[in-house]
C-alpha cells in the first residue's frame, strides 16, 4: 500500500485500475472524465500497458471486448452520452461472457445535456440500454478512496464473473481531490501465460487444435439460447447473493429515513445531523451496490418511521427501487435536483423537514 497521497478522483481511479492489473485502456474524450484517458495514455506505457484513443465510444468498448476476449485486464471509462454508446458492447460482453471494468463519471441529460454532476443515468447503469436479458454489477462510491477500492476490486471480480462490472461515479467525485491510500500492484500474466488463468481466452491454440477457443454471442436455436440465458442467470443469482452492499445508520429507530447514494449520500449525512439538532431522528440507507440493490435492508426500518425519502440528482429513478424495497409499508417521497445543481445539506434538511411536517410527523 502507498502512503496517503492527495489525488483527483479521476486520476486516483486510473491508478487503482493499473494497480489492479489493468494493462489495456481504450477511451474517447468526454467531460468530466478526460483526466482518465490522459492519465492512462501517460502511465500505462510505463507498465508495458497499452492505450488507444478510440474513434468513438463504440470503438472503445469493442476494443475492450477484443482485449478482454484475448485475456487482458481492461478498463474503460466514459460519461453519460458515451455510456449510451457503450450499451451495444455491454450487452455483447455479457452474452459472450467477456470481462471488463467500466467506470462512468456521470453528467446530466437527457441528450447532450450538461457537464455538471448527475445521477440520471441510474436506469442506464442498473437496467442497461443494451438488448436482451443481462445484468451488470454496479457499485457507487461516495468518496475517492471508496472509488479507488472499488475499481481495484472490480478488476478481479469481473474476471471471476466473466462479466462487465460497472463503477458509478459522477462529475463531482471525478473532479474532487481527496487523500487516498493506493493498494499494491497485482502481478500481470504475460501474453503466453494467459491461458493458464483463462483457459477460455483467445490466444491461438498452438499445436493442439482440440484446444481451439471461440468467443461467441449468436445462438440461433431457441432451445439453445434459452438454456444459455438460464445459465447466465444462475451466475447472476449467485452474484446477487454475494455482491449486495449497503451502509445504514439509525434506521431501526428513525422518524424518517433518507435513501441516497454516491455524492448525494455524503451531503445527506450532513443534512441528517442538522435535522437531529432540530429533534428529528433520521436514518440513512446508502446503497453501495446499485445492482444488486439492497432491497432486504428496507425490512429493518422501524415501524414507527413516518416517511422514506429518496434523494437523487434525477427526476426520480432510484426511487423505483426504493418503492420495491418498501413494498407500500411507508409513504415514499422524492427530494431531487437535476440539470447539474447539487443541493446543499441545508436544502436537503429543509426539504426533508417540510415533507416530514406534511406527512404529519
Amino acid at each position: 500500500m502507498s502512503g496517503k497521497v492527495l489525488m483527483k478522483g479521476n486520476e486516483a481511479f486510473s491508478e487503482a485500475a493499473i494497480r489492479g492489473g489493468c494493462r489495456y485502456y481504450f477511451g474517447y474524450p468526454i467531460t468530466p472524465q478526460n483526466e482518465i484517458p490522459e492519465y492512462m495514455s501517460r502511465e500505462l506505457p510505463k507498465h508495458d500497458g497499452h492505450f488507444i484513443q478510440a474513434e468513438s465510444e463504440i470503438g472503445a468498448i469493442m476494443m475492450a471486448y477484443g482485449a478482454g476476449a484475448a485475456g487482458g485486464r481492461v478498463f474503460i471509462t466514459s460519461s453519460s452520452p458515451g455510456i449510451a454508446l457503450f450499451q451495444e458492447g455491454i450487452s455483447l460482453m455479457c452474452s459472450a461472457q467477456v470481462p471488463t471494468v467500466i467506470l462512468t463519471v456521470s453528467r446530466c441529460g437527457p441528450g447532450i445535456g450538461g457537464i455538471q454532476p448527475g445521477q440520471a443515468d441510474y436506469f442506464q447503469a442498473t437496467r442497461g440500454g443494451g438488448n436482451g436479458d443481462y445484468r451488470v454489477p454496479v457499485f457507487a462510491p461516495s468518496s475517492v478512496q471508496e472509488g479507488v477500492d472499488m475499481v481495484y476490486q472490480a478488476m478481479e471480480l469481473s474476471d471471476k464473473l466473466r462479466n462487465p462490472v460497472m463503477i458509478f461515479t459522477d462529475g463531482l467525485l471525478g473532479q474532487m481531490m481527496e487523500p487516498v491510500v493506493m493498494p499494491d500492484f497485482v502481478p500481470v500474466p504475460k501474453s503466453d501465460e494467459i491461458r493458464k488463468g483463462k483457459p477460455w481466452a483467445l490466444t491461438g491454440y498452438g499445436k493442439d487444435d482440440s484446444k481451439r477457443n471461440t468467443v461467441t454471442s449468436l445462438r440461433i436455436v431457441p432451445d439453445v439460447l434459452e438454456k444459455y440465458v438460464h445459465g447466465l442467470f444462475e451466475k447472476y443469482e449467485q452474484a446477487e447473493k454475494e455482491l449486495c452492499r449497503v451502509e445504514t445508520f439509525d434506521i431501526e429507530d428513525a422518524d424518517m429515513v433518507i435513501v441516497a447514494f454516491g455524492t448525494v449520500a455524503r451531503i445527506t449525512k450532513e443534512a441528517i445531523s442538522m435535522l437531529k439538532e432540530q429533534g428529528i431522528k433520521v436514518g440513512l440507507i446508502r446503497p453501495i451496490s446499485l445492482w444488486p440493490f439492497p432491497y432486504d435492508v428496507f425490512n429493518k426500518i422501524s415501524p414507527k418511521t413516518k416517511v422514506v425519502i429518496s434523494a437523487e440528482l434525477s427526476m426520480g429513478q432510484m426511487i423505483q427501487d426504493v418503492e420495491l424495497g418498501i413494498a407500500k409499508r411507508f409513504p415514499v417521497r422524492l427530494i431531487n435536483r437535476t440539470g447539474g445543481t447539487i443541493p446543499t445539506s441545508l436544502e436537503i434538511a429543509e426539504r426533508a423537514k417540510k415533507i416530514y411536517e406534511e406527512i404529519g410527523g
Partner: protein, 249 residues
C-alpha cells in the same frame, strides 16, 4: 504408392457450411485457411468474424475466433492486437459490415496502421438480411430496397473501398481480387499471402477485397452470377494492387 494430389486444408473444419450454391464465401474462407496452414500459423492466429452470411465462420475456420458485433471487427481486432503482439490477427467482413455500419471502425483501424489484415467480401448486397442495398450495390442494380434499381439521386454512388482506404498512410497493403476464375482465385491466394506477410513484418494495415457473388440475392444462377461479376462489377471495381510497401499508392 498412391500420392495424394489434393488434400482438404486442415484450416477448414470438416463441417458443412451454410452457404448457397455459387456463393464465394466458401472460396475466400478456404484461401485464407490454406495460406495459414502453409505458413504453419493456424495455431497462432486469431480471427474476427462479422455479422452477415459468414457469421458462422468460426464454425468453419480452424483458428481461435470470435464473433463480432455488426461492423466492429476492426476495433475488436485492435484490442486483441494489444494483448497478443505476435499472433496473426484478421477480420473477415461483408460490404454492409465493413463499408456501412462499421465504416468508422474500419477506417480508423487502417488510419492507425493496425497490424491486422482485413478480408473484405464485396458481393454488392446485404446477403443475410435478404438482399437489401449495400454501399457497394451498383447503379441500376436491383435490391429489395432499390426495387427498380439503385439511382445516384436516391442513394448516391457506390463506394470504392480499396481506393478510399488507399489514401491512408496506415494502409500499407491494399489489393482487390476477384473469385471469378481459377486463374483469379490463384491470384487471390497470393494476395492473401502477401497481406499476411506484411502483417508478420509489422508494416501496417493490410486489406484484400474479394469481388464476390451472391446468386441468391442477385436472382441469378451461379453461372449468370459470374457473368454479372465480370460484366458489371469489374468495370466499376477494377482489380489490382492499390497500395504496397514497395510501390506506395
Amino acid at each position: 504408392m498412391l500420392q495424394p494430389v489434393f488434400e482438404y486444408t486442415k484450416g477448414m473444419l470438416p463441417v458443412e457450411t451454410n452457404y448457397c450454391p455459387g456463393c464465394t464465401h466458401g472460396i475466400s474462407h478456404r484461401l485464407i485457411m490454406e495460406v495459414l496452414e502453409e505458413m504453419d500459423m493456424l495455431g497462432n492466429t486469431i480471427g474476427c468474424g462479422p455479422i452477415g452470411c459468414s457469421v458462422m465462420a468460426h464454425r468453419f475456420m480452424n483458428v481461435d475466433m470470435m464473433e463480432c458485433a455488426h461492423g466492429r471487427a476492426p476495433a475488436i481486432a485492435s484490442g486483441i492486437r494489444r494483448v497478443h503482439p505476435d499472433k496473426l490477427i484478421f477480420t473477415y467482413q461483408g460490404d454492409g459490415d465493413l463499408a456501412s455500419i462499421g465504416t468508422a471502425e474500419f477506417i480508423h483501424a487502417a488510419a492507425r496502421g493496425e497490424h491486422i489484415t482485413t478480408f473484405f467480401i464485396n458481393n454488392a448486397i446485404y446477403g443475410m438480411t435478404g438482399g437489401q442495398m449495400a454501399p457497394t450495390t451498383l447503379i441500376g442494380q436491383k435490391s429489395t430496397t432499390t426495387q427498380t434499381g439503385r439511382t445516384v439521386a436516391q442513394a448516391g454512388a457506390p463506394m470504392r473501398v480499396c481506393e478510399l482506404v488507399s489514401t491512408l498512410d496506415g494502409a500499407v497493403y491494399v489489393e482487390r481480387v476477384a473469385l471469378n476464375s481459377p486463374a483469379n482465385i490463384n491470384k487471390a491466394k497470393k494476395a492473401v499471402k502477401r497481406a499476411f506477410d506484411v502483417q508478420e513484418k509489422k508494416l501496417g494495415f493490410s486489406m484484400i477485397e474479394f469481388v464476390s457473388t451472391c446468386p441468391t440475392n442477385w436472382g441469378l444462377s451461379p453461372l449468370e452470377a459470374i457473368d454479372f461479376l465480370n460484366e458489371k462489377m469489374l468495370p466499376y471495381y477494377p482489380l489490382g494492387v492499390f497500395r504496397s510497401p514497395e510501390g506506395g499508392q
